[in-house]
């Protein structure tokens, strides 16, 4: 598959000291890549650099093999969907959509057709005559999306486009965006701080922290095998336990778990709640006491206080908790553990 967008050694520092360093990323044609991280991690800086709204200190950005890093936004083959929609309030929906096409000197008939098509795509047919102020937030964001889509950009940039919408609408828009991407085959770079959104939408996720890339990978890969303790903390729910690595095993209390990375000394073992198994108390297993159990719809969350003093959360089928009593002593085993070297900042979690 051909590379549509290529970012090479991109760095940008602000006077405050924040910014991004050494960002490298290739995005294939038709791929939806998400930049994910907490606010201030630099994801928007990368996106705005691609769009031309920020000039990087160093590095290159190529779109379809051509460097665009010196071009202003209006000359780049990208369009952006902004967090706050940024529709022009004095123009009707039709005028908002037609504006970019008029600049490209399209004929009236072409414009009319393209506008109608884009509005159909975002499920707002017939909204041409309305003013942005007469639309709801979700509808405004659909118009903004249509405005960007109909210019058929080489790369569509989306800057937390759904964060101002309520949860239900956000969910809907997410699905619609996925459908639109499937229909149009557009290359998209999506910025979000919402890991659930990233996991649901993306072909690949770029997890960012403090201006650097922590991990790039497919959502499942990032979920199953977080490359760093930071990613493990940021993506999904995770239990963290202090342990010691010796040879082939990591010891946590009386429990022993495999040590595939060959770590040595103090480590942090990370276990997803769905990988925690609860059995009968056993002298050779990590033991604990049931502290709390909550049935949350189709599954139950059980908290267990371990012999080492920590708390382990486990997701179980809701019927399984019937056999467990509060205060009951149990043995804990893990279907899968990931270990990270113990550093000063890695305690807790």
């Amino acid at each position: 598959m051909s590379i549509q967008l290529s970012i090479k050694d991109l760095s940008k520092r602000y006077r405050t000291g924040e910014g991004v360093s050494d960002i490298n990323l290739d995005v294939a044609k038709g791929e939806l890549v998400t930049l994910l991280g907490p606010s201030g991690c630099g994801k928007t800086t990368v996106l705005r650099s691609i769009g031309g709204f920020l000039e990087p200190d160093s590095g290159d950005i190529q779109i379809e093999g051509r460097s665009v890093v010196k071009l202003p936004p209006e000359k780049r083959p990208t369009t952006m969907v902004f967090q706050s929609y940024n529709l022009w309030p004095h123009m009707s929906v039709y005028e908002n959509l037609a504006f970019g096409l008029k600049i490209r000197k399209k004929s009236k008939a072409e414009i009319r057709e393209a506008v109608a098509g884009a509005l159909r795509l975002v499920r707002l047919p017939g909204a041409e005559k309305k003013l942005p102020g007469q639309l709801s937030g979700g509808q405004q964001q659909r118009v903004a999306l249509a405005r960007s889509l109909l210019l058929q950009p080489a790369v569509l940039l989306l800057d937390e486009p759904f964060s101002a919408l309520d949860a239900k609408l956000r969910h809907e828009m997410r699905e619609e965006l996925r459908e639109i991407q499937a229909q149009t085959g557009l290359t998209m770079v999506f910025v979000t701080h919402d890991q659930e959104e990233a996991l649901a939408l993306s072909d690949r996720i770029v997890v960012m922290n403090n201006g650097r890339v922590e991990q790039i990978g497919e959502p499942q890969r990032i979920y199953d095998d977080p490359a760093s303790l930071y990613v493990a903390r940021f993506i999904g729910k995770m239990n963290f336990l202090d342990g010691t690595a010796q040879g082939e095993f990591i010891r946590v209390g009386r429990g022993e778990f495999p040590n595939p990375k060959g770590l040595a000394g103090p480590v942090i073992a990370a276990v997803r709640p769905e990988d925690v198994r609860i059995g009968a108390a056993d002298d050779r297993a990590l033991s604990g006491r049931i502290k709390q159990s909550m049935v949350l719809g189709h599954y139950a969350e059980v908290s267990i206080e371990t012999e080492t003093g920590g708390t382990v959360r486990s997701f179980l089928p809701k019927d399984a908790v019937r056999e467990l009593d509060i205060g009951q002593n149990v043995g804990i085993s893990f279907a899968k553990t990931i270990a990270y070297p113990h550093t000063n900042e890695s305690t807790g979690g």
């Binding site: 769009g51 031309g52 209006e74 022009w88 490209r104």
Partner: protein, 279 residues
């Protein structure tokens, strides 16, 4: 008395002082002037004073001259005001900082003093011409010429216009301009399609202020204007003070007021349209 009636009465009481002031200072003088302007030399009432306005060659020249100076001044003031306001909004440089700190200074200098200042600066023997003389440059006549009048109008009107337009342009979110650049709009496109429509109301207010200020100006035209043709304000003073023709002066005043009303009409119409669109 019901609560609503009480409230209505209270509203009436509150509005009365400003209404009375308007009545005494504006409405009654206008009505009086209008009645006076209709009185002919024989003591009867007709439109002869207005006929003279358009048949007397000197007066016709004055009207055209006044309109010309007003239109040129309005165009230049708004052009420069917009340019300055845009520069202040989008330029982060030091120069913009200095302009921001100093552009209002002319508003704090009394008109007479500023006009004398311009005479000293730009007059035949003013210090600009003295400075340029060693280089063999001779300035054209500026003072006692329409050029001087226009420069004075710029001095008096640019600061306030810039202030109005700056606040309007500051109210346009940067993100709206960003999205225009994003779809490919250049600087001119952004100005004409985004900034101008979004600051149109303020533009109209500024235009109204400048137009009325210039068309009714007196100090600068009186001090640095030429003898003929004259701005209507100076002509009115001459007809009133030198020729002692109160009725004729009243006709000039009413005519000037009508010229201003044209702009007032456009302003009110656009406000009404916007109000209707909002309903």
């Amino acid at each position: 008395m019901t609560k609503e009636r009480k409230q209505a009465l209270w509203g009436l009481v509150l509005v009365t002082p400003s209404f009375l002031l308007l009545l005494v200072v504006v409405v009654i003088p206008i009505v009086q002037s209008f009645i006076e302007s209709l009185r002919n030399e024989a003591g009867g009432y007709d439109l002869s004073r207005y006929e003279w306005l358009f048949t007397d060659k000197g007066m016709r020249n004055n009207i055209w001259f006044t309109l010309k100076i007003t239109v040129i001044s309005c165009a230049l003031v708004l052009l420069i005001g917009y340019a300055l306001a845009l520069y202040l909004r989008f330029s982060p440089g030091k120069l913009a900082g200095w302009i921001r700190r100093t552009y209002m200074i002319p508003m704090f200098i009394p008109g007479v003093i500023a006009t004398y200042g311009l005479m000293n600066l730009l007059g035949n023997h003013g210090w600009l011409s003295r400075l340029l003389l060693p280089f063999g440059v001779t300035l054209p006549r500026i003072i006692f010429d329409e050029k001087g009048l226009i420069i004075a109008n710029l001095w008096f009107n640019i600061p306030f216009t810039t202030m109005l337009l700056s606040s309007a342009i500051a109210g346009i979110p940067g993100s709206v301009i960003e999205s225009a650049r994003d779809v490919g709009a250049g600087k001119l496109g952004i100005f004409f399609r985004i900034i101008l429509p979004l600051s149109y109301k303020t533009f109209l207010v500024a235009l109204t202020f400048v137009f009325m200020g210039v068309i009714g100006s007196f100090t600068a035209p009186f001090l640095i204007g030429q003898n003929s043709p004259q701005m209507l304000g100076v002509a009115m003073e001459q007809v009133f003070g030198v020729f002692q023709e109160r009725e004729q002066a009243a006709a000039i005043a009413v005519f000037t007021f009508l010229l201003c009303s044209v702009l007032g009409f456009f302003y009110i119409r656009s406000m009404a349209k916007e109000e209707a669109a909002r309903m």
